[in-house]
Symmetry: C2
Subunit: 201 residues, 2 copies
């Protein structure tokens, strides 16, 4: 029986990224990824349910960071402020030294529909989890869904910006800016609604 | 050679919904769907690339309705107001008499991961198309993405509410309410940001 190896998932993910990049996603088997770091196929499948999952190692930690961020927000914070608070704590999950590896990972995902699909699925699950965490704080169902999905929109857009080759701002700074932009857009629309109500006879 | 039949896609979709519901999605073949309405498998594949696509017939019309809605919004409308305008025109696409069929369709999709995945993909594509349409109006890239994705959030949540068994409000009314709720949430968060700036030393 193979001994448990500390850090095996991280090593498997690193090897998978290299193989997916150099040889291609379809052309790489789970056995080959395992072999590259001296592990067996069986060990691979003890950590990951399939070849795609290896790129989403760490997702559970990200989900937990969101949930913890929602729980740690000040009690008086409104639903979207709670989400903004959670986004800020999650952004520390992606320090700048992680940017090169995140870029490689994303470029592999972007090239493969099966991986993009898995990523969309993960984001949907994340939104549901954040909405549940908001409801635990007493936020109503509709508000919780809207706030959670708006948070995912801000996170998704910010993350893509953070990965751009020329980008040097931290994920936290980008997220703050994108979130502020969303509030500005909503403010403009609310002014428009008020103006049209005022105009009505 | 089979003659072109008007309404073949609609008839195929209706037959597919019945078969998917009674027999199950996996157990139904494209040939059987075609046969149920007196068409050949070849005709099926002239209309749809695979068995999943038959449930998304009409998607292209929905996309076009969004694009037309964005283009038809008043020139002075802000990005999110444009999206609200487009949502209102799209909601007429789903009159109340369409609700029973939409419910059946959604329950089939909800039961099958492969169909849910296709639906998520369609929504992502729709968001990208709406963002492009906003850019055509001169909206900046970040604002266009945020406004388009917020619109999809409102549309997605509203559509699920519209399909609930007990629901009697029109999709237009639900969409208006959900959109208003989003603006309220953003307004509360903006007030919070202003308050914390005012509190800063």
């Amino acid at each position: 029986m193979a001994r448990w190896q500390p850090g095996a998932p991280e090593r498997l993910q690193k090897a998978a990224l290299e193989l997916f990049t150099t040889r291609g996603f379809e052309q790489t088997t789970a056995a080959e990824i395992a072999q590259a770091v001296g592990l067996t196929e069986r060990t691979f499948f003890r950590h990951f349910s399939d070849k795609r999952e290896v790129l989403f190692h760490g997702q559970q930690l990200l989900v937990q960071a969101f949930v913890d961020g929602v729980a740690a927000a000040p009690p008086e914070a409104s639903p979207l402020e709670v989400v903004a608070f959670a986004l800020r704590s999650v952004s520390h999950f992606f320090p700048d030294e992680r940017r090169p590896q995140s870029r490689t990972r994303q470029s592999v995902i972007d090239r493969h529909p099966a991986l993009r699909e898995r990523e969309r699925h993960k984001m949907t699950t994340l939104a549901t989890t954040v909405a549940d965490a908001l409801r635990t704080r007493g936020v109503g169902e509709l508000q919780a869904k809207l706030a959670a999905e708006s948070g995912m929109t801000v996170f998704g857009i910010s993350f893509v910006l953070w990965l751009r080759e020329s980008e040097e701002r931290s994920l936290a700074d980008i997220t703050d800016e994108v979130f502020g932009e969303l509030l500005d857009l909503a403010g403009e629309a609310a002014d428009g609604v008020r103006a049209s109500v005022a105009k009505a006879p």
